[in-house]
């Protein structure tokens, strides 16, 4: 019992089951309303039809009365009463005495209804032969009929039809529909329950797996059935997301390792210098030099740290608002001019070439472009061993071994800037 209760509660908490229950309830209510409406209007139409038939019969009987008088009417009613399956007749004088017909009295229900209506009457042995059950048991049951009462000088005539069979039929239809709706409702709920169990079990699997992942095992993946249904697709995209997170985490670890390395090296140097200065037996002057060298090392550390910070900000897209339409030729010329004396002191010729001559104005951060250019030229000066350089070609630009050539080249996507030297270059592993 308890398990059943739990099952019920678990089902009730799922969307699938609640949706199913809601749909079943709405469907049942709407269907019942339609059924009720249909049966009501069918009854009404049937009654109208019977009343129309009765009216024509009454007209016939009236004509009969006019031509053959009361006697003829009495005979005609008696004849019709004897030869009918569902017809009901009553002919009586104004004193309430029955003259002919198979009804024993004027049905009280009909008295108030001028254009005829529904009434119930009791079937007696004398006026009907059809209900064998009732005959057998001797029971007297109330039956439903539709009839018209009208007066003729000296007499009252009732012409009616028994509609009990129709009533029973429509009653049965109502009963069967009710049963059908009940079964439908129960079936819907059971289906909802099964659906919710199915959904729950899949969701539980995903939940269990994601809990395991949350505890730190990023290499785990959500189970897939391969059926390609919505849960499978959900698990698939969650797995892709996990893949990406794992990659990012890996990247982050790598970056923090690199940062640790980049910062630890100058920190270590700084520490060594301070220690060395402390140990130096030459005393104050040596210590002073040591301190100066320590500050130098601290400055290096700050530079590295600033560079790392800058990279982080660039990757976060923090500089977008600082972009300004700038002619790259101006920046290149400026930076080249800044480095020209250093380059020529080191034995290089620093040249700027504006190739192509197209549009060189682009939205950039002048400081950052300037700084990266400065770094490249700086590296070119530092790492090209002037004496060992060879005369050669680089792309379309002729230059001898001691040239550093900065080229500005407008391309489709923007502007390309290259800094070319004749040094050993960057090993493929480090590119």
């Amino acid at each position: 019992m308890n398990t059943l209760n739990n099952l019920w509660e678990a089902a009730l908490s799922t969307t699938a089951f609640r949706t199913a229950a809601f749909v079943v309830a709405v469907f049942t209510m709407v269907a019942a309303a339609i059924m009720w409406f249909v049966s009501q209007s069918t009854n009404r139409v049937l009654t109208q039809q019977v009343l129309a038939a009765l009216s024509s019969e009454v007209k016939l009987l009236k004509a009969e009365a006019r031509s053959s008088g009361l006697k003829g009417l009495r005979r005609s009613v008696a004849l019709r009463s004897a030869n009918t399956r569902s017809g009901l007749y009553y002919l009586g004088d104004n004193n309430g005495r029955r003259l002919a017909g198979n009804l024993s009295e004027i049905p009280p229900d009909l008295l108030g209804q001028r254009s005829g209506g529904v009434f119930s009457y009791t079937l007696s042995r004398s006026n009907r032969q059809s209900s064998k059950d009732q005959k057998r048991s001797g029971e007297v049951t109330s039956r439903t009929a539709v009839g018209i009462l009208f007066s003729y000088p000296g007499v009252k005539l009732v012409v009616a039809r028994d509609v009990e069979d129709q009533r029973i039929l429509s009653h049965r239809i109502r009963l069967v529909s009710l049963l059908g709706f009940g079964l439908l409702g129960i079936g819907g709920l059971v289906a909802g329950l099964l659906l919710s169990r199915l959904a729950l079990s899949r969701v539980d699997e995903i939940t269990d797996a994601s809990r395991a992942i949350m505890t730190g095992d990023l290499s785990q993946r959500l189970p897939r059935t391969g059926s390609g249904d919505e849960f499978d697709r959900l698990a698939g995209s969650l797995n892709e997301m996990l893949e990406r997170i794992e990659q990012l985490m890996h990247g982050l670890r790598e970056v923090s390792d690199n940062i640790a390395h980049d910062l630890k090296t100058p920190l270590n140097r700084l520490r060594n210098r301070a220690e060395e200065a402390l140990r130096d037996p030459r005393g104050e002057e040596a210590q002073r030099q040591g301190l100066e060298r320590t500050i130098e090392a601290a400055d290096d550390l700050i530079k590295t740290f600033n560079a790392l910070l800058l990279i982080a900000r660039l990757e976060a897209g923090a500089i977008d608002e600082t972009l300004e339409e700038t002619d790259l030729v101006d920046i290149v010329t400026d930076v080249a001019e800044l480095y020209e004396p250093v380059a020529s002191d080191a034995g290089f010729t620093l040249r700027v070439e504006n190739a192509g001559g197209g549009e060189t104005k682009v939205p950039v951060n002048r400081q950052l472009v300037g700084q990266s250019l400065a770094n490249l030229i700086d590296n070119a000066i530092k790492y090209t061993r002037a004496g060992q350089s060879q005369v050669g070609m680089a792309g379309e630009t002729d230059f001898i071994g001691l040239d550093i050539v900065v080229t500005v080249l407008p391309v489709v996507e923007g502007v390309e800037i290259s800094v070319a030297d004749r040094g050993p270059g960057i090993s493929p592993d480090d590119r």
């Binding site: 100066e292 530079k303 600033n306 910070l309 900000r313 930076v335 800044l338 004396p341 000066i381």
Partner: protein, 226 residues
């Protein structure tokens, strides 16, 4: 020179106060933005050193408020934030100079002294003179002892900046910022080579050198070596 240091890090503020005193200036400290603003309004300071991030009131808000009230005291912004976009924000708010933490004290001192000088309207002076060295800002001519000296445009601007701050130490980064308008740290001695070329033109054939190197700080142009 009276300096107000608005800085919430007590150790950093104390260090600045002591160092400025040793350099012959007086310094007062405010630990938060509101106090700093109140002190800046009342005290008659020559330069304000304002940290970018402060409790109670942000550094930029302090500067903006002062500027809105018509206070034109030069402001040096200290910031632990990044250089690229933050400098622009700081200068837009009304700051006159910008220095990122951590900084070398010599750098800060040189900038503070340059800022204090800025209140003197030397911008409008048409002739800059240091001893017998004359720079005419209208004709862009430079001469020493009556002898005309030919300078490249950049050399001229370098000399102009040094002479505008005659007697004051200017650092390499100050030169890069003000003469080349670049705010990064040049890795090699690019500025030194430019200065030595300029020196070759203005000092080489004369007995008394005017452009001197200040060890660990930068350069100064002045009449007498101290």
């Amino acid at each position: 020179m009276r300096v107000l240091v608005i800085e919430d890090d007590k150790e950093a503020a104390g260090f600045l106060q002591r160092a400025l005193k040793e350099s012959g200036h007086t310094a007062e400290c405010a630990g938060d933005g509101e106090l700093g603003l109140a002190m800046a309004r009342e005290g008659d300071f020559d330069v304000l050193i304002v940290d970018r991030m402060l409790p109670l009131r942000d550094g930029l808000s302090v500067i903006r408020t002062l500027r809105d009230e018509g206070d034109q005291t030069p402001v040096l912004i200290l910031s632990a934030l990044g250089e690229v976009d933050d400098r622009v924000k700081g200068l837009r708010a009304g700051g006159d100079d910008y220095l990122t933490k951590p900084y070398a004290y010599t750098e800060l001192l040189a900038r503070v002294e340059a800022l204090a000088r800025r209140t003197v309207p030397e911008e409008h002076m048409t002739r800059l003179v240091v001893a017998d060295l004359v720079l005419d800002r209208l004709s862009h001519r430079v001469s020493r002892g009556g002898e005309s000296i030919t300078l490249q445009p950049r050399e001229y601007r370098l000399l102009e900046y040094l002479m505008k701050h005659a007697g004051q130490v200017v650092t390499r980064t100050m030169l890069l910022e003000n003469v080349w308008d670049y705010h990064f740290d040049p890795q090699t001695n690019v500025i030194d080579v430019h200065v030595s070329r300029l020196r070759g033109k203005i000092d080489k054939n004369f007995d008394r050198p005017l452009l001197q190197t200040v060890r660990g700080a930068g350069y100064v142009i002045r009449e007498h070596a101290e």
